[in-house]
């Protein structure tokens, strides 16, 4: 029952300690991790955003420069001059002075027929009238095509600028090497698995990515509607989750994408996470260990305290029993003593009178004398009881003598030696030599020993042994005496009452039931303690411990 209570308390203590340790530990750990995660991903995203922003600016600038160059030409030069291939060639060479990315230059009339061409292919006379780009260029004024292979079998794109001159409209169109984009996006160095590419609205790759695909492949990529600025998102393409930084170009409906492996990019974060998990696990183990240790040691101490308290309670109960008995005994003894004294005197007076001559001659003289003797005998018996009661009740200070316990035991034993040997009972002594001498009351101790020996002889009745053993206690602060008999032993229920006053198993008239009560009270008064162990059928042992100093 008590054990259950302690187990519950132990678990409760552990649970409370764990709760109070884990709540701050985990909130701190997770809170820090969360802040760190947020800051770190912000930084990673910020880096990607900057990168994609820079590339976008570069590409947009490149495109706008090209458009500006061509627009300036278209606006400043006249169709008549430009349709002259010689002049166009001159213009082309001037253009190429600034940028090698111009592959060719052509002038197209309003019907879509190429009227002049400078470049590596014989394109003069080609009819673009049906081409979609031609229509768009004529309608919007500027058209930038997607990258394509075309006749040139070389990735490039076109910029077409239309100009209204008088009642005619003509188109200046240049093919531009798209290699510049490749080199621009390739310059984005992004670890082992990072990549960068440009996608057209139809998810067609405008540049050659580092991994997996070729130019003009159509990527399975989510539809990203046009948005301002840049955006960083994490999603899966082709079964692999990646971090994508994206931005739409200003000059063209192309999506510039920088792809990064979040595992690689967030590696320090993952390391931090593992470290955190490790720290939390280690911390948890420590906390659990600590909680269990504290709970266990607390409960252990409580159990010890509880036991001590129980022992103290038991001894206090015994002591208060003794004290209560003392008062009662004194009261009763005094009240009984006076009538006893009168009976005694009356009997004495009768005895005095019986000695007279004429009474001696009476036929009943013998009966009278016998009656008086019996009265006197039994008054003495009663007196014995009252005096023992009073002796028990008195609070006389014990005397202090320097005693050799072994010697005292031997002396006491000698009183009973005759009685014992008559009954076939042997005394066996197992004394520790050089036993510390004690400061105590010899006559009171003798009374206790005598009492126990007496009881032992009664318990054995005939043939057996009484073993007397003495030992110095721990630190030589105490002397321990054990007196064992080979008697019939004491039943458990009797054992509990053995020191109780008036408890006796002897026949009426043989024992007062006060011997062990008085022994207990004497030993307690002398600062020692006495207890008894017994096994039915095997014998009983009284253990007495006495302090060396008083």
């Amino acid at each position: 029952m008590i054990q259950d209570e302690f187990n519950k308390l132990r678990l409760k203590l552990i649970a409370i300690s764990l709760a109070f340790s884990f709540i701050p530990l985990f909130s701190l750990g997770l809170g820090l991790y969360d802040r760190f995660y947020e800051t770190y991903t912000d930084k990673v995203h910020g880096n990607l955003r900057n990168l994609v922003e820079n590339k976008k600016t570069t590409i947009d600038m490149f495109l706008s420069e090209r458009v500006a160059q061509l627009s300036t030409l278209a606006l400043t030069e006249a169709y008549a001059d430009m349709s002259n291939e010689k002049y166009l060639e001159h213009i082309f060479s001037v253009l190429q002075l600034h940028s090698k990315s111009f592959l060719d230059l052509q002038v197209i009339d309003q019907n879509g027929i190429c009227v002049a061409y400078v470049g590596p292919y014989p394109l003069r006379g080609v009819d673009y009238g049906k081409e979609e780009w031609f229509g768009k260029a004529m309608a919007k004024g500027v058209h930038i095509s997607d990258v394509f292979m075309g006749f040139r079998k070389y990735p490039h794109f076109n910029i077409a600028i239309s100009r209204r001159e008088g009642d005619k409209t003509w188109v200046l169109r240049a093919a531009i090497d798209s290699d510049i984009f490749d080199s621009l996006v390739r310059s984005v160095h992004l670890g082992k698995s990072g990549d960068a590419f440009i996608l057209s609205t139809g998810h067609v790759l405008q540049t050659k990515p580092r991994f997996g695909h070729d130019m003009f492949d159509t990527l399975s990529f989510p539809d990203i509607p046009r948005f301002p600025g840049t955006r960083v998102e994490e999603f899966a393409t082709g079964g692999q989750t990646s971090l994508f930084a994206m931005t739409w170009l200003n000059q063209k409906d192309w999506l510039l994408v920088i792809k990064d492996d979040p595992r690689e990019e967030l590696l320090p974060l993952y390391r931090a996470r593992w470290l955190l998990i490790l720290l939390l696990a280690g911390g948890s183990l420590l906390v659990i260990g600590g909680a269990v240790f504290i709970a266990n040691s607390t409960v252990r101490q409580l159990i010890v305290a509880e036991r001590e308290k129980a022992a103290l309670d038991a001894s206090l109960t015994q002591s208060s029993k003794m004290a209560a008995l003392g008062k009662l005994a004194a009261g009763v003894a005094h009240e009984v003593n006076n009538p006893l004294a009168i009976i005694m005197e009356k009997a004495g007076w009768m005895r005095d009178l019986l000695s007279e001559e004429d009474i001696k001659a009476s036929p009943n003289f013998g009966e009278f004398e016998d009656a008086v003797s019996k009265i006197e005998f039994h008054v003495r018996r009663a007196k014995d009881v009252t005096h023992r009661l009073l002796g028990f009740a008195r609070r006389m200070e014990p005397t202090q003598e320097d005693l050799d316990v072994n010697l005292l035991l031997d002396q006491t034993r000698s009183f009973l030696e005759n009685e014992a040997s008559f009954r076939g009972i042997a005394f066996i002594t197992d004394y520790q030599k050089n036993l510390p001498r004690i400061e105590s009351d010899a006559s009171q101790l003798q009374q206790v020993f005598l009492n126990i020996f007496d009881n032992a002889i009664d318990a054995i009745d005939k043939n057996g042994s009484i073993t007397i053993c003495t030992r110095a206690g721990t630190d030589n602060n105490e002397v321990e005496i054990a007196i064992s008999d080979t008697g019939k032993g004491i039943p458990r229920e009797t054992l509990e009452k053995i020191f109780d006053p008036f408890f006796t198993t002897k026949k009426v008239g043989e024992g007062t039931g006060l011997g062990l009560t008085i022994s207990y009270s004497i030993i307690e008064k002398l600062g020692g303690h006495i207890n008894v162990t017994s096994e039915e059928g095997k014998g009983t042992t009284f253990h007495i411990a006495l302090p060396v100093g008083a």
């Binding site: 005094h334 006893l340 004294a341 005694m344 005197e345 005095d352 007196k383 023992r388």
Partner: protein, 131 residues
């Protein structure tokens, strides 16, 4: 038997029997039922040798009577009767000048013996005082 006894106890039956037993032995004895009565008796006739004085009496107890007695009649010997089986009660009496103490119920022979010795000491002291 040349000594006189004054027996003081509130138990009438006890004191009465005690008187009878002393008288039976030809020892002059007077009974007093309380301390004040005993002191009054002594006031009138101080020629007692031994006082047998009970410790426990209502009103003035044995110790108080003993103190008063010893103050007024220092040479008078007192034997305390005590129901207390304790040495200390007797010792207390003896420290206050009692000759000895006897435990109740009384062994008359013992009491007689002690009374006789007490009277002898009283006579010895009287002789010394005169000398």
């Amino acid at each position: 038997m040349d000594f006189r006894v004054l027996a003081v106890d509130d138990e009438a039956d006890f004191i009465e029997t005690l008187v009878k037993r002393f008288t039976y032995r030809k020892i002059p004895v007077t009974a007093a039922g309380s301390g004040p009565e005993a002191l009054a008796l002594l006031e009138r006739d101080p020629a007692y040798d031994v006082v047998i004085l009970d410790m426990r009496m209502p009103g003035m107890d044995g110790i108080a009577v003993l103190k008063e007695l010893k103050k007024r009649h220092p040479l008078l010997e007192v034997i305390m009767l005590t129901g207390h089986a304790s040495v200390e009660a007797g010792m207390q009496g003896m420290s206050l000048g009692a000759y000895d103490y006897v435990l109740k119920p009384v062994d008359f022979g013992e009491l007689l013996e002690k009374a006789r010795k007490a009277s002898e000491r009283k006579k010895l002291n009287e002789a010394r005082a005169k000398a």
